[in-house]
């Protein structure tokens, strides 16, 4: 990937904010573009290295094949799992109706 430099535009940040469901003000957008841009620049430095003969890595660890047996174990009680929700009815979470479906 040598020489492949990426830069971040205001439009990119707007799109990412939309996908993350974040409503940012214009000042926030500008600040985020600057800050995220610095991160991207930092990553860009890696592009200066010659990685021609390096195999891409899927995972930072060396581990593979970590499995668990298919045996049920008790989880959370309903009261516990619902306790963190802003709105619930003792059976289900309640969320604003999803539009467009």
């Amino acid at each position: 990937m040598k020489g492949c430099q990426v830069s971040l535009s205001l439009a990119d940040v707007k799109k990412v904010a939309m996908l993350a469901r974040l409503q940012l003000s214009d000042t926030e957008l500008e600040r985020m573009t600057h800050q995220l841009g610095q991160i991207v620049d930092y990553v860009n430095q890696l592009a200066e290295l010659d990685t021609e003969s390096v195999t891409p890595l899927s995972h930072a660890g060396e581990l593979v094949n970590v499995f668990a047996e298919d045996k049920p174990r008790p989880g959370l009680s309903r009261a516990e799992v619902l306790s963190g929700a802003p709105k619930q009815d003792d059976e289900c979470y309640r969320v604003p109706a999803v539009l467009g479906e």
């Binding site: 970590v66 499995f67 668990a68 298919d70 045996k71 174990r73 989880g75 979470y93 309640r94 467009g100």
Partner: protein, 490 residues
């Protein structure tokens, strides 16, 4: 079939819930029908700091299915995060597979014994293992604008099987789904219950039109909310006609607009536009750092391949070759499932008459199973008992017209063929008494004898009715044979 001015191009995505006791990345139970939000834990509700661990059985069942679909199993596979926001997705991403799925490049053969379409191999692009989302219920009864969320299903293992766009009609799509479901049932990897959501289908469809400038494709539409195979057929028929009309009206081609998603309305039997599907890049897939990759050795692939067993396509051929049943009959038997094939093979082997067995099974037994909504395992007439009946008929000991009565008795009372024949007073008539019965008949019916002598062999039929009245156990064809023989000797 109606001649259409276009070719339909269909690819299917099938989500199969795998038959595991626990979820894909946590040990919560997957049992269906439990009270809402009683099968959750920090992992499947996306609590900070929780870590997923892959269910070994889910991976094995996926591999077994992929091998049965003739897929390649790459040595290296990994899981990725597919990010989108939806209230039934507590983590904000689904753990799925993106560029390195656990299997790819397979095929499934479909055929139609009625000849509606030619046999073909439908390509399988990939089959990958991913987790299910939760269930959202829209509460309209109370007039509230809320949706209710149940996370019991969140994290349930799903195998997504993606076909090539190789299907060319709704009938082919239906055949593919029937064959896939049958295969999954033979493999015993899923209960395939559509009502419970164990099998879900999305269809991608567009049209190819022969225009003067060359072949033109209409925009691809993905159809969702297909809750039965019948719905898939109807939706494809509706959607292809709709696309043709839109083409005539607007002339929009594939590539002019982004891929659309439409939902099937089962009541009104129409497809309707749904929200814009986010572009694939908007899902921002990246390898899930919480999970480690899986490396599969060739040995392990072979070990799983050995558990696949004999599959429907091979069984259909074997029944035709070893049991001399027709292609149509082999289809009927195999399509009833592995237990039914086992029953047929046991009866055919024990009775030594596969064709007669096939007839009995398809007529009397299938009819009763359908009437009673019963599986062959629950059927009161065992394979050994039916073999006794088939044998008695094949040897002429029992007349086939009385076979039905004997079978009825076996079914009602759980008797063996011999017991049922005894209960009904059916005893085979020995050769000597049969001969003297026939001699008596000829003596009483000189007219019939005269007619037969003049060459009217049919006249002997009158004697058969009389013989049956004298002794209901006589075999009509034997009576006929002996009478003709005696007349010839006169």
């Amino acid at each position: 079939m109606r001649e259409q001015p276009y070719e339909i191009v269909i690819g299917l995505e099938v989500h199969v819930q795998l038959r595991t006791r626990t979820k894909l990345f946590c040990r919560c139970s997957t049992e269906f029908g439990q009270p809402a939000n009683t099968q959750t834990c920090p992992v499947c509700t996306g609590q900070p700091g929780s870590l997923p661990v892959m269910n070994r059985d889910a991976f094995q069942l996926s591999m077994k299915t992929a091998l049965a679909l003739h897929c390649q199993i790459p040595e290296f596979t990994r899981w990725d995060r597919k990010q989108y926001y939806y209230p039934d997705l507590p983590k904000g991403y689904q753990i799925s597979q993106y560029d390195l799925p656990m299997s790819c490049d397979g095929w499934l053969e479909i055929c139609d014994s009625q000849g509606v379409f030619d046999p073909k191999r439908v390509g399988i692009i990939r089959a990958h293992l991913e987790e299910d989302a939760g269930k959202s219920m829209h509460d309209e009864t109370s007039g509230r604008a809320d949706s209710r969320i149940d996370l019991n299903r969140t994290g349930t293992p799903l195998l997504e099987i993606v076909s090539q766009p190789d299907l060319r009609s709704a009938a082919e799509a239906r055949a593919y789904l029937d064959e896939l479901k049958l295969l999954l049932q033979y493999l015993d990897v899923s209960d395939c219950n559509m009502q419970e959501g164990s099998l879900r289908v999305d269809a991608n469809v567009n049209l190819h039109l022969d225009e003067p400038g060359g072949v033109i494709a209409t925009p691809i539409v993905e159809i969702k909310n297909l809750n039965s195979f019948r719905a898939v057929e109807r939706a494809l028929e509706y959607e292809s006609q709709r696309q043709y009309e839109v083409w005539l009206e607007k002339g929009v081609k594939k590539g002019d607009i982004p891929k659309q998603t439409r939902g099937w309305d089962d009541q009104l039997e129409v497809t309707r536009a749904q929200r814009h599907k986010e572009e694939s890049s908007d899902y921002r897939y990246f390898p899930d750092p919480d999970l480690v990759p899986v490396v599969v050795t060739p040995d392990e692939v072979e070990r799983v391949r050995a558990t696949v067993g004999e599959l429907p396509a091979a069984l259909r051929l074997r029944l035709q070759e070893e049991y001399d049943v027709s292609e149509y009959d082999a289809n009927v038997i195999v399509n009833q499932g592995r237990d039914f094939v086992g029953y047929f093979v046991e009866v055919a082997d024990a009775s030594g008459d596969a064709r007669r067995t096939s007839n009995w099974i398809q007529q009397e037994i299938l009819r009763r199973l359908n009437e009673l909504q019963m599986s062959i395992r629950q059927f009161p007439v065992t394979a050994a008992a039916l073999a006794g009946l088939v044998k008695a008929i094949a040897s002429g000991e029992l007349d086939s017209s009385r076979g039905r009565d004997v079978f009825g008795r076996m079914f009602e009372h759980g008797e063996s063929a011999a017991e049922a024949m005894q209960s009904l007073g059916i005893v085979s008539v020995d050769a000597g008494s049969l001969r003297s019965l026939c001699e008596g008949l000829l003596a009483e019916n000189p007219r019939v004898v005269a007619e037969v002598k003049e060459g009217k062999q049919k006249a002997v039929g009158a004697l058969i009715g009389q013989a049956k009245r004298l002794n209901p156990n006589v075999n009509p064809s034997e009576v006929r044979e002996i009478c003709l023989e005696l007349i010839a000797q006169q």
